[in-house]
């Protein structure tokens, strides 16, 4: 099963990893004593660990290849993805859905405030992920500056609250609308570009918004940010800190449900079909009479609307915002959620957000290597499951003319 060549290759891989991690894991400088602490043992760990991982992946790959060969020869049937199997049978997924619903409903009662806070953050990323999913997953437009619209929403609430004392519920729709307006303003010039160019321009836009917020101090209070933003009101009743967190939690859950509902409806609609078709073939779409610009612009600005609303919620949750919350890393994480979860798949994006946001929290045990583990998991996922955790179950549309 494993040839001599695999083992030699594995040793080379191990050496390469030792070389790569050498400065990080082996050399430790002690600045007080001005001495270097050599941790040779770490080298052995890294070497043997990467060697083992390599051999295991080789074995998995070999088995996969064998399977594919057998499928080609007709010896075994192609496996249907488990996610597709699960979601095609209500008998299987309804109890699961009920369990998930009960879990999220009881969550604040079962866990500490700290955990609830983390969960709120994760759920906000679910909203952001679902919003970006419209743009990237469904319409196929690579947007690397998504966080800009998130910032627009957050600053909308912070500023309107500070200057005019407007409350959460008033600003939530305003944040969404402003997000949409910014989406349209950016979209009109930019959506003529394709693929890589679009990605670069949106990336630039994200940075511009952040730099404006950082430097236009009289407007946004610069890097020191805006604090004392009001929490969402509960019919005029003052809530204790703990209660207001629980309240925020349920608000976020509601927002997630609302988002799922809208995205789901959208994918089944005319515009949803146009998005899908546009991703497949632009020329054909034009020949069918689909307005290319308008269709793309709708996806782009809808995504921005959701980012705007999520931004308002973010400001309301943290009560303090500054430009550091809206860096490119944030856009990258949201994009990872969409890609890792499974482009275009609603359940996938939800699972992706929960995994990606909760995992680093619970990986705190390995605090120093948290980001390393995060990166490694992303790489491994993309090699073994490029379609994402939950592959899209492509909807087949009911055909207008089919009257049977």
């Amino acid at each position: 099963m494993l040839s001599f060549k695999d083992i030699r290759q594995g040793l080379l891989v191990a050496l390469w990893f030792i070389f790569l991690t050498f400065p990080l894991l082996v050399i430790k400088i002690n600045p007080i004593e001005n001495s270097v602490n050599w941790r040779w043992l770490n080298m052995v760990y890294v070497g043997s660990f990467s060697f083992l991982i390599y051999l295991i992946t080789r074995m998995v790959m070999a088995r996969k290849l064998e399977r594919q060969k057998k499928i080609k020869l007709g010896l075994v049937k192609e496996k249907v993805a488990w996610s597709i199997k699960l979601f095609s049978q209500p008998r299987l997924y309804l109890p699961l859905l009920a369990a998930v619903a009960v879990f999220f409903l009881l969550f604040p009662g079962l866990f500490s405030t700290y955990q609830v806070n983390i969960m709120i953050t994760a759920l906000m990323y679910v909203v952001l992920g679902l919003g970006l999913n419209i743009v990237v997953g469904v319409a196929g437009l690579l947007d690397l500056g998504y966080v800009a619209f998130y910032a627009v929403g957050a600053y909308t609430y912070a500023l309107l609250n500070m200057h005019f004392g407007l409350g959460f519920w008033t600003v939530l729709p305003i944040g969404g609308v402003l997000g949409a307006i910014f989406g349209i303003l950016l979209g009109i010039p930019v959506l003529r570009l394709r693929g890589d160019y679009l990605a670069i321009v949106t990336l630039g836009f994200g940075e511009i918004i952040r730099l404006i917020l950082e430097n236009w101090s009289s407007f946004s209070h610069g890097p020191s940010g805006i604090s004392n933003i009001s929490r969402p009101g509960f019919f005029g009743i003052e809530l204790s800190l703990e209660m207001s967190i629980v309240y925020m939690y349920y608000l976020t859950v509601l927002m997630v449900l609302f988002t799922i509902f809208v995205v789901n409806r959208l994918q089944d609609s005319r515009i949803g079909r146009a998005w899908f078709a546009l991703k497949e073939d632009e020329i054909a779409c034009q020949a069918m009479g689909i307005d290319k610009m308008k269709t793309k612009l709708t996806a782009f600005s809808l995504g921005a609307t959701w980012a705007g609303m999520a931004g308002v919620m973010f400001a309301a949750k943290t009560t303090f915002i500054n430009p550091a919350s809206f860096t490119f890393l944030e856009s990258a994480i949201i994009l990872c959620i969409v890609v890792l979860g499974g482009m275009g798949s609603i359940v996938g994006v939800i699972v992706g957000a929960l995994v990606l946001i909760l995992m680093p929290e619970y990986l705190r045990a390995f605090s120093d290597y948290r980001m390393l583990a995060f990166g490694a998991i992303l790489v491994v996922m993309m090699i073994f499951r490029p379609q994402g955790i939950i592959a899209t179950l492509r909807r087949t549309y009911t055909v207008k003319g089919d009257l049977e």
């Binding site: 078709a277 497949e280 034009q286 290319k292 087949t396 055909v399 207008k400 003319g401 089919d402």
Partner: protein, 235 residues
């Protein structure tokens, strides 16, 4: 029905069409023949608004359309089968056809057209739940034509329906094009490399060379013309 006056179309700085003048009468099959790169596809793209002309006028049923966006032109009744078919590979055959009716809302009419097309191309009915990408080249061409017809156009722009098809399949498709023209009274603008076949079913023909119209006449006269025979019919 359709009139092109002094059309100039550019790709960036490169001029692909020079002063194209051309008319299409309602109910006829007209063909545009020419060598590779002559500008045939560009002519169709100019009409359908996908590569709009830089100067000149295009009049459809008395109205200028050269400044309208592609989607508006489809609404007016011009539907294009782009070169190379361009079907949606992941959508099923039925969904592909449904995309053709994207701008329509008359359920009854759509159902009738679908029935008509399924009768015209029985293979499509048989494969209606398979992804378009799984069809053979000929079947994809049938799908592309059917999809364009789902818009119920008055003018159908066909770009090289014979491309990459076996002679027998080509013949079958050309027969159906004639049939559509006869039964549905759809005007057809046919662009073809296969000048022989195209001129046999067309009423009139235009010859395009390096972006300019060099000849136009009744189809049978072009077939008999010595220059055309030498250049395009391989006789």
């Amino acid at each position: 029905m359709l009139e092109l006056r002094n059309i100039d179309t550019y790709y960036g700085n490169i001029q692909a069409l020079h002063q194209i003048d051309l008319t299409v009468e309602a109910g006829e099959i007209i063909t545009l023949i020419g060598a590779n790169g002559a500008g045939k596809s560009t002519t169709l793209m100019s009409i359908s608004g996908i590569s709009p002309p830089r100067s000149g006028e295009i009049i459809f049923k008395g109205k200028p359309i050269h400044e309208l966006p592609a989607n508006k032109i489809v609404t007016l009744g011009i539907s294009q089968v782009p070169e190379g078919r361009h079907i949606f590979p992941e959508l099923t055959v039925a969904e592909n056809l449904d995309m053709g009716a994207f701008l329509r809302n008359d359920k009854r009419g759509i159902a009738d057209d679908l029935e008509y097309l399924y009768d015209l191309f029985p293979i499509l009915r048989k494969r209606r739940n398979q992804p378009g990408g799984n069809l053979s080249g000929g079947e994809q061409q049938m799908l592309a034509i059917s999809r364009a017809l789902m818009a119920h156009p008055q003018l159908l722009l066909l770009d090289e329906p014979s491309m990459g098809l076996a002679p027998l399949v080509t013949k079958q498709i050309f027969e159906i094009i004639e049939k559509i023209n006869r039964e549905q009274n759809t005007t057809i603008f046919l662009v073809e490399q296969n000048a022989n076949l195209a001129l046999q079913i067309a009423h009139r023909g235009y010859v395009l060379e390096n972006g300019r119209i060099t000849m136009h006449d009744q189809a049978d006269k072009l077939l008999a013309n010595k220059d055309v025979q030498k250049a395009y019919l391989g006789i």
